[in-house]
Symmetry: C2
């Protein structure tokens, strides 16, 4: 039985108990939401772990950190350092997107060592193997793609991105459009080029029932990838994007009917004024399926600052109902991230998620802010520096220019408003 | 004649000509908006400069950088370094908020050397002088406050923040409320404590006609300060805040009648879901007066990241109609900023402003993004690294992990979507 099947049967599993406790909601409420398909609880039954994080309606917005090697840098040990950096910075989940070096070893070490929920994109695995063993991605077979899904599910991956919505029909919509950046999803690109070359339908669509069978067997949650996500503001909310989402909505229905947990992936590069509508569209079309967004980035021109760019879009998406933010690091579009970049990416995404939790009225979300502001009013620097989002950074920045007095900072000195007021009261 | 009086008389001044050219709008359109009071063109007639930047409806959203010494760090030369950092990073305006060292010398050197529109908060000057010459802020006189306004206007400051809305009635509203952080505006605090001590009305309110006379004489633009801005999410949108804004709306009317250009300052710490309403409230109450916001910060708990926090709030405020973003630096709430912090603050605020310009459909705003995305599609790294928002940062980050090939980055290597597609086409 999957968590979804259990939930529908009215059973509260030990995993639901634990996740509800972490979330601060009742197990019954969590069960009902999982049964309705508005929350997923990714927990592959092959994985022995307490890492549990419920994603969806009424839950705290979660943050994912992408890890993974590339052909330019592939060291198992370095991926584990990034994993630890992500976990220590407060990531709720991590995805291993490795495409370089011993990708099996990296994935299995991450599974063994991680304390958080884990995801992957199996088509990367199939593509890397095809290039290595058969010279080119084009020589990948449909069976190779399904095999990749199987291997990752058997290894214990909690959620897998599958680009099942990149259909021939959707690609026809794309051809009729004049996109600036075409397809920017890697999985989407591999599949689209394979489909064009072989003049065949997407195997992950055509053989979706087999994908569902594998996922159900291990209770891996499907994250339906948006292969057609816009990679430029100019491409946002166009016909291929909406067409694919419509296909994903149908596939989400089929997943639920098959007892498989499912969420939907979202853009991408989106002008700020379109974000709310994008989220509402997903929520309506996909009957409240949890929405997992990458960014969105609200401008194309800010490489070096795309973590901030994504925080702007992610906060607004979260306020509008997105449930799960994939972090973006400062090196997005420029380089594989270092552990320092990973840390920065997670913290900044957490700011966006927290701001959105407050905005959508998540019970208790604003309590941290109220308590923290009480420390500020009291000039309790010890508490401010220990209870803020990133004590390490705050402590460093307080030293940029030292204050002459322990109870103020060097910005205002004795003109500190709280100090002036306290003095006037005496 | 002020720019407002000229505009009302149907005259297009040389300053309007130049500002319209910079803005890319017609001088006639700019004149009409200035006449209507929905745009200000701060340009003190005592200042010889080409620095011209129109702020308001239909204009590009502008970014201000706060400079200034404190008692903990007061070097004229260092303020000039920060000024240059702000200008080079693309700030449209700068404010000198000095409260330490030779504040006259700092202000005058900044006026002499700046290439951008300049603002100050004259009450700081009055407060610092009172502490130095009369032992305490409480010994400041009403005449001292007006004298500060006069000195700054005579020196050539283009816009001045005056907290004329901190009235006794507004302070009564405050007393009835249970704020977590009371008043966090420095000017507001100085005035409120002075008013309580002397049991007198705010001289800047009581003698507002004199303030208007001075401003009109030099064509200094008034920036009506929000002394009661919320300094904690818990305090946002409460009675004192709205009460003060209502007073500012009346004062804005009176300024326009007196031929004085006027804009309104806004919060502060505001939950993300309140920002749109806050902006609409200002625009309606104040008859479209340009709105100058400090942040808003969307969480209280992120010291060390308040520039990002402010970018989230600023982008949403800009989309809702705010016209002018005051940057926040990474050291906000922790320390006076260094030149590096100033640079970071300006760039991040520019990202928010640009995203909001695109969102509200400013003509031409999205062109940069489209062109940039064309470089990305073409893998034109030279152009990407020279035409992005911050070429210096992008170049550095591209080196975090070096790519093996010139035409990709180390994130995807040969799995670069653009490269895979190009290869497949051949």
């Amino acid at each position: 039985m999957t968590q979804l099947q259990d939930a529908r049967a009215g059973r509260i599993t030990p995993e639901m108990e634990l996740a509800a406790k972490v979330e601060g909601c009742s197990p019954g409420e969590l069960r009902a939401r999982i049964a309705a398909g508005t929350v997923v609880l990714p927990c592959n039954r092959n994985r022995k772990t307490d890492a549990l994080c419920a994603v969806g309606e009424g839950m705290r917005i979660k943050v994912n950190a992408n890890l993974g090697s590339s052909m330019d840098h592939a060291e198992v040990a370095d991926e584990l350092v990034k994993l630890r950096a992500a976990e220590e910075a407060g990531a709720d989940t991590a995805m291993d997107l490795s495409t370089g070096g011993d990708i099996d070893a990296i994935r299995r070490r991450i599974i063994a060592e991680s304390k958080v929920t884990l995801g992957t994109v199996p088509i990367y695995y199939a593509a890397v193997r095809a290039v290595r063993e058969k010279n080119t991605i084009m020589n990948m077979t449909a069976e190779d793609m399904l095999e990749a899904v199987r291997v990752h599910c058997e290894d214990g991956i909690d959620f897998i991105t599958v680009h099942c919505g990149v259909t021939r029909e959707v690609l026809r919509s794309l051809e009729q459009c004049d996109r600036v950046c075409g397809i920017v999803s890697r999985g989407g690109t591999f599949l689209a080029e394979w489909m064009r070359y072989h003049r065949q339908e997407n195997p992950l669509y055509e053989r979706y029932d087999e994908v569902l069978d594998i996922a159900r067997e291990h209770d891996a949650t499907l994250s339906l990838g948006d292969g057609l996500r816009p990679g430029a503001l100019a491409d946002a909310f166009d016909r291929p994007q909406v067409h694919e989402l419509n296909v994903l909505a149908e596939l989400a229905d089929r997943a639920r009917k098959a007892g498989v947990q499912v969420m939907i992936e979202g853009p991408g590069h989106v002008p700020l004024n379109q974000i709310q509508a994008q989220v509402q569209m997903e929520k309506e079309l996909c009957k409240g399926a949890p929405f997992y967004v990458l960014g969105p980035l609200v401008t194309d021109v800010a490489p070096g600052y795309d973590h901030i760019n994504a925080a702007i879009g992610g906060a607004v998406a979260g306020m509008a109902g997105a449930d799960f933010l994939c972090y973006v690091t400062p090196t997005e579009h420029l380089s594989l991230p270092t552990p320092v970049d990973v840390r920065e990416g997670v913290i900044v995404a957490r700011i966006a998620a927290h701001a959105a939790d407050i905005a959508r009225g998540l019970p208790g979300a604003a309590d941290w802010d109220r308590t923290f502001s009480e420390y500020r009013e009291a000039r309790d620097w010890q508490k401010m520096l220990s209870e803020c989002l990133d004590p390490k950074r705050a402590g460093e920045f307080r030293e940029h220019i030292k204050a002459h007095s322990e109870d103020t900072c060097s910005m205002c000195g004795d003109f500190c408003v709280f100090k002036v007021r306290e003095k006037a009261k005496r």
